[in-house]
Amino acid sequence: MYQGIRMSGFGGQGVISAGILLAQAGLLEGKNVSWFPAYGAEMRGGTANCSVVVADDEVSSPIVSRPDTAVVLNEPSLAKFEPMLKPGGLLIVNSSLVNTKPKRTDIRVALVPCNAIAQELGTIKIANMVALGALAGLTGAVSIEAIAKALPKVFKRAKPEILELNVKALKKGAEAKAE
Amino acid sequence: MELVNKWPAGLVEMPLRYCPGCGHGIVHRIVGECLEELGIRERTVGVAPVGCSVFADDYFNCDMIQGPHGRGPAIATGIKRSKPECIVFSYQGDGDLASIGMAETIHSAARSENITVIFINNAIYGMTGGQMAPTTLIGQKASTCPRGRDPKVNGYPIRICELLQSLEGASYLERTSVHTAANAIKTKKAVKRAFQNQIECKGFSLVEVLSMCPTGWEATPLNSVKYIADKMMPLYPLGVYRSPEQREQKEGGAA
């Protein structure tokens, strides 16, 4: 198993921490993992993205240039990462914020209204968890249980009820279907 | 018969290789005496600069390190923070301290590093052959301003004590001279106080000493003494520019 993943969104949407969570979950499941942020000159409001690899074998490059899966939480990310996907790859789109429809026909697409689902659960802050849940459900790279176990390791100061809410978002996201 | 003028324990018994009439020897002796009188010789580490006093690592009878040009206060910082029980001083000339090492001078003062800096201001680069220093006087001739320092071309001399005075971190700043015996005695008092401050953990202390450089100035030793009194002292007035007491008062007032 090898999953090269790119996660992208506005700074503040939580793609960086969702990526760390994914890597931590993979580690808990005994897989080889890496996480690599696109780091740049500091600025607010820009697009943030990270690469995550979850694999059975050793991870070669931590920079995922041809992703198996891309998670795009905002419009600019779609334009950037849709073309990079491998043929047959999976594109998870936050349809609450991304209006453009993906153009490629050689990939699988999951339109997930992450913000709307998160809002229903109580706060849009957990939209990233909905997307991560969808990724886990659709790729099987890691289990929802592993992510739930990883949560307190990554968010060390989070209160139990917040962690619980995150798990709810993960589970809701895992129900997503791809076409 | 009583020996009244012995070699101070703070200096190694060896001839100093400075030019006749140079002020370094006097200041070396002063520092050496202070190390002895304060009983700190065996726990003092000195930093020798690049310049004429590069050989200070041989002369002072305490652990010594010789470092890159201008970086004395940074090296002293590293030593003091690693061994706070040691007394650490940096001995520097004007090119070293006020030109290439200006950033280290200012920032170690701003951090109020608990170190002592002995600053020899002779308004010239001695070792390299009498080039213009940041402290060279307007009109003073040097090998890189042969017609005399022209402010339009070479800018103006830097007054270190006045400059550092604005920094809250500077604890003790005094300018003295060694062109007369009376002034040398005052210099010793200042140097002693600068070490005493460190012993009492009062932060950054610097003594700027106006000093003769007959070779660099192309003058006789006697004329060099006169040069300090007539030309240097008006530009570089002697006195205390900052004392720990002033600093405490200021801090108390602010609180």
Binding site: - | V12, R43, I65, Q66, G67, R81, S82, K83, E104
Partner: protein
């Protein structure tokens, strides 16, 4: 020990240094190594250590010079332009025989370059770097786990030989997160004994002097000759490397650090396609595994160097094999190759071996009993395949 934790390379490096006994750090901000000073600034005081944000890289390295002179296990880190500024101080430490440890999290250059990963500082690392005649010990990790575990090795070597040692990393190794396992118990600095050169409390002993000069006629040469002897000993004893699937390899890919990981992926692809390709990875870049490479040149037929620079590392590989074997180059100056791109370079290099030999790599091609002898080239046919100096993308 034991548990694997997910850590960022820069933080693993800092934690590894602290666990190896580092109690003094001075540095200056520069991307992509900022997590090192940031980590040190909160972690060191907890251990009774000192963190100083210096006013410049120049001041930072001179604080290290001072701290190292007391025998303190100290560290600084920076990225390429900052290391350039530190070179004078590093030269002084080498000249004064002071042990300390530093890390260069390399970014693209020259000049301000960029902040992405690069291997462009190879030469300045393995050739000393500053002015004068000296070496520093250079270790090149290729994982976050090694970022965490190499500082201990660096300190041990630095103190054993009284000289600076460094980790040559890059933006990827600094910024990425990977599982880490600290493979040693934390070292207690109180357990270190004075060696007899340290400055400090001098009661009952003669004064000590730390300096990097000797102006007396003929003296500096003696000091440098002694240092050379030490360097020779290190070249003999301290070489570290990793060789994978080299035994039957016709083509050996030679790479270090991040590019060795990418090369590993390419080697795997090549093996999957039935190409006999191996991977040789120097872990110490100085001392360089010259002998090991020379030996490998006897049994394989071609080397391919993969580096994220113009062709610096390849110089040492070519010096090591001394013309015995053809050495191709896949250079990506300030570029980061993918596994696929690297595989393409491997395949091209492999296929440009002369067909006769590629078909029959066995005994006949090897004159027996004369190892080390330059092999005869089969006439002019193959000539020298065009060097693959790729005009790197992503500028």
């Amino acid at each position: 020990m034991g548990e694997k934790i997910l850590m960022k390379g820069n933080e693993a490096l800092a934690e590894g240094a602290i666990r190896a006994g580092c109690r003094f750090f001075s540095g200056y901000p520069i991307t992509p190594q900022n997590e090192v000073p940031e980590y040190m600034s909160w972690r060191l005081p907890d251990e009774g250590g000192t963190f100083i944000q210096a006013e410049s890289e120049v001041a930072a390295i001179n604080m290290i010079y001072g701290a190292a002179s007391t025998g303190m296990r100290c560290m600084t880190s920076s990225s390429s332009p900052g290391i350039s500024l530190k070179q004078e101080g590093i030269s002084y430490c080498a000249g004064a025989d002071l042990p300390f440890f530093y890390a260069n999290v390399v970014r693209g250059g020259p000049g301000l370059g960029n902040i992405a990963a690069s291997q462009g500082d190879y030469h300045q690392s393995v050739r000393g770097g500053g002015h004068g005649d000296y070496r520093v010990l250079v270790l090149a990790p290729n994982s976050v786990d090694e970022m965490a575990n190499f500082p201990k090795k660096c300190y041990e070597l630095a103190f054993r030989y009284r000289m600076p040692s460094m980790i040559l990393a890059d933006g990827i190794l600094g910024q990425m997160m990977e599982p880490v396992e600290f493979k040693f118990e934390p070292v207690d600095p109180k357990s270190f004994k004075e060696a007899g050169w340290e400055l400090g409390l001098a009661a009952g002993r003669r004064k000590r002097i730390v300096r990097s000069y000797d102006l007396r006629e003929g003296e500096l040469e003696k000091i440098n000759a002694a240092r050379l002897k030490k360097y020779r000993e290190i070249e003999e004893k301290e070489v570290l490397f990793e060789a994978k699937q080299c035994d039957d390899a016709e083509l050996v890919v030679v790479a270090y650090g991040t590019s060795s990981r990418i090369a590993a992926a390419a080697v795997k692809m090549a093996r999957d396609k039935g190409l006999k390709v191996g991977l040789f990875r120097p872990i110490t870049l100085w001392p360089f595994p010259k002998k090991q490479l020379a030996k490998l040149a006897e049994k394989s037929r071609k080397f391919l160097v993969v580096e994220m620079s113009m062709g610096q590392f390849v110089d040492d590989v070519r010096l090591a094999v001394c013309g015995r074997i053809e050495v191709d180059l896949y250079a990506r100056p300030a570029g980061i190759p993918s596994g696929e791109e690297t595989f393409a370079a491997v395949e091209k290099s492999y296929k440009s071996m002369t067909p006769a030999r590629a078909a029959a790599p066995a005994k006949t091609a090897k004159p027996k009993g004369k190892p080390g002898r330059p092999r005869k080239k089969p006439a002019k046919k193959a000539g020298r395949p065009a060097k693959k100096t790729r005009k790197g993308g992503r500028r």
